[in-house]
Symmetry: C2
């Protein structure tokens, strides 16, 4: 006679438990093989909003559309143009990184970079004068993101600076980013001494026009293709851009060496560009901006389309909630320091460069760049684990951006606010660290996450938008 229970009892029982590790330990004590799956309760206070947003009938399709657009976007460098011309930025107007900010709340490096930009534009003769003007409110400033531009670190853009112009022909979008100044004492890290201003003038007078000639001469440069390649060459596209920078240089070279200009100017432009391991960052960022821009503004979508920091606040924007910012206080990165600098010198997180993670590279692709741990801290297992953890909070695996060591698995792409709220796992960001005191420059590089509160705030807004 066959017992109805025979099938059940004929094999080892499978026990599923949730909650504290004691259950797993008890099973192990009884010699039962245990597979632990990470599980955490949702972020506090998000249960009701989560239920409402998860139940939104638009959500699944809206998110599928968002990541399909994000991963189908292209990014082609088509021109190099002055910011005044490209963005309609007028003398006395400035862009900055992160969510909106007022002078009185601006951190040291942001104030330093704005002072430097005022000096560079010739609107003041001394730093003190520039500071007085800025504090008095005679200038206008707004986020780069509000003009579809991005800027690393302080991200300050003034009308005379030159910008890379990138196009996503698939979605008919354009994005811009300033030229990279190199490392050390540079405006984007809040330095504004004479060396900084002199370099900015050289970039405006010599480098920008030569790069424009080079880009126009070679036609256009496929930035998406370079990102795909650099991930196979140990870069993650945020704090490691070595291979990307070399590939960009190679693409520009035929146009640079045949540009009209003095051979010493051309040689210096080649040397300056070749000496800068982050030369490519200012192309990777607007490429990621184009990807996230394509995914923006889809009703019901819970996909994050902006993560940006102004040195005081960290802000995110979400596809389904449009241009609303959800902010919290920027955290201070932990990592490795240059020279004699230490943790006490570091400013809270700053810059639009977290757009790389928003687009599925940077910290999300850290497994592709194990050597980065010598620059941002952590160790190789952490780098592998960071990418793998990000699959828990993303909607897609990028079809083109792949991680060789994970057997060419696509990078985790498209942060889903509901997954962050449900798991409590925060996006992993690799970042440079600016000195907290205006004028200092870079002090190190490290690892950081957004402040958790951005996500419940975004979720609440998404919940309100559900009919």
């Amino acid at each position: 006679m066959t017992s109805p229970l025979r099938g059940l009892l004929g094999t080892d029982p499978v026990v599923a438990t949730a909650g504290v590790g004691l259950f797993a330990d008890a099973l192990r004590d009884q010699a039962v093989a245990v597979s632990e799956a990470d599980w955490q309760p949702p972020m506090e206070g998000t249960e009701t909003d989560l239920a409402r947003v998860m139940g939104d009938p638009r959500r699944v399709e809206a998110n599928a559309t968002a990541v399909a657009r994000m991963t189908a976007s292209t990014a082609t460098l088509v021109d190099v143009v002055p910011a005044g011309e490209a963005l309609g930025l007028e003398k006395g107007s400035f862009l900055h990184a992160g969510p909106p900010l007022t002078w009185d709340r601006a951190s040291g490096p942001m104030q330093g970079a704005l002072i430097g930009a005022v000096l560079f534009e010739g609107l003041a003769d001394t730093a003190e004068e520039a500071e007085r003007q800025l504090a008095s409110g005679v200038y206008e400033f707004e986020p780069c993101h509000h003009r579809d531009a991005v800027g690393p670190m302080a991200g300050v853009v003034s009308p005379s600076m030159w910008m890379y112009e990138l196009r996503d022909e698939v979605h008919d979008n354009t994005s811009w980013c300033s030229l990279n100044e190199g490392l050390g004492k540079v405006l984007r890290y809040g330095a504004y001494n004479e060396e900084v201003i002199t370099r900015l003038h050289w970039m405006t007078d010599v480098l920008g026009p030569l790069l424009r000639q080079a880009v126009r001469s070679v036609g256009s440069i496929d930035i998406t293709a370079i990102i795909a390649q650099m991930l196979q060459m140990g870069d993650e596209g945020h704090n490691r851009n070595r291979a990307g920078s070399l590939m960009l240089l190679r693409e520009l070279l035929p146009g640079l060496v045949t540009a009209e200009g003095s051979s010493s100017d051309i040689a210096e432009a080649v040397r300056f560009s070749g000496a800068n391991e982050h030369f490519f960052l200012n192309l990777g960022m607007p490429a990621a901006k184009l990807a996230t821009l394509a995914a923006h503004g889809i009703p019901g979508s819970t996909i994050v389309t902006t993560m940006a920091r102004n040195g005081t606040d960290f802000g995110i924007r979400v596809s389904g909630t449009g241009d609303e910012w959800f902010t919290g206080p920027a955290l201070t990165p932990e990592g490795l320091f240059l020279g004699d600098f230490g943790p006490e010198d570091a400013n809270p997180d700053i810059g639009d460069s977290a757009i790389t993670e928003t687009g599925g590279i940077g910290g999300f692709a850290m497994a592709a760049a194990p050597a980065i741990v010598k620059f941002v801290g952590g160790d190789v297992p952490f780098a592998l684990e960071a990418t793998q953890r990000m699959y828990e909070i993303t909607e897609a695996e990028h079809p083109v951006y792949q991680v060789p060591i994970l057997e060419f698995r696509g990078t985790p792409t498209g942060i889903d606010v509901t997954k962050v709220a449900r798991t409590g796992i925060l996006p992993q960001i690799n970042t440079g660290m600016a000195g907290a005191v205006a004028g200092t420059g870079q002090v190190g590089a490290g690892l950081v996450t957004p402040p958790a509160e951005c996500f419940p705030a975004a979720l609440a807004s998404l919940a309100r938008a559900v009919d």
Copy 2:
């Protein structure tokens, strides 16, 4: 009362077994945790020689000296010079890859490359005439290695070709390698049509002199430093040289763009060099040659200092046995094929490029280059495992050449003949594949090992040399 056995029985017994896996299976059936260590009997017939060589009192210190010299060697690009001038090579003399070879035993790609070199030197007007001359014995040819030079694939060098000249100042050694022709129909893969000969003339007339100006203008280029960096950028230095080629280009650029010459020649030299992903191979090879040269000729040392193939034979040389070659028939690589080519089109293994593996990079550093599996075959776990297996047969971990994904472990460096004989593990080589028919060119890339018999032969010679 304390039993003398109490300490022993108070913990789980540890069982060490050697031999067939049945023992491990039996232990597993009794729920005992099992760690298996690979163990294989020594290569057949090597027991007596192994015992004699292992007992050589000079061996331990000689091998320590050999790898210390190998890993302390430097490689600096100091000049670019015609082969006739650099190597004293006279018109009618040719160098080739691998161990010594006669025309009648030469494979298709070797014969094709020699025909092409005769045409290039203007010694014959047609391929048929060149072939007749070569078969009649009017020309002299000998291995590149006999002149401290190396050549990829057929490795044919004629007096009018230009060579990179590299110096190891620590050990006062010099090595040379020809310039890379790019991919496809090229001399080193046995092609010799008009396109090939025209390119060789351009390289002699334009590229070589420009590269000489560039190198002399920038002073010198640290090739060892580039190798260390490229291993952190997804290259292994034999069949993947993308990052290395870009870094080399960056170093040469300031000298190239300011070289005397027409701007169209300079632009073409920059384009040609930038378009070639294996541009660096011809620098990595002589750097590895300098490393192994430093370790060569130490009495009692069982470290391999040459692995090279001429398309017919695979030959090795060993530090302690000097310039004696130990050869066996070259195997045919297994891998991936270009276009419509297949396994039946491939020539047996050819080229001096296995000097990279001899020096601790190439296939030995495959874990640093997981993306290479798309080019040579295998999969990512194989790439990781290949490097880890090579630690079993090498004497040292390279202090400068490191693999990030293995937590910056140094590459396995210094193949020990006794370890190969004891374990039966053969060196892992990544290689290009030439078409078997003269004139074909490259048909693919793949994975190969030396024929096993080289190692017992070397061991026998080492045994004879023990007092």
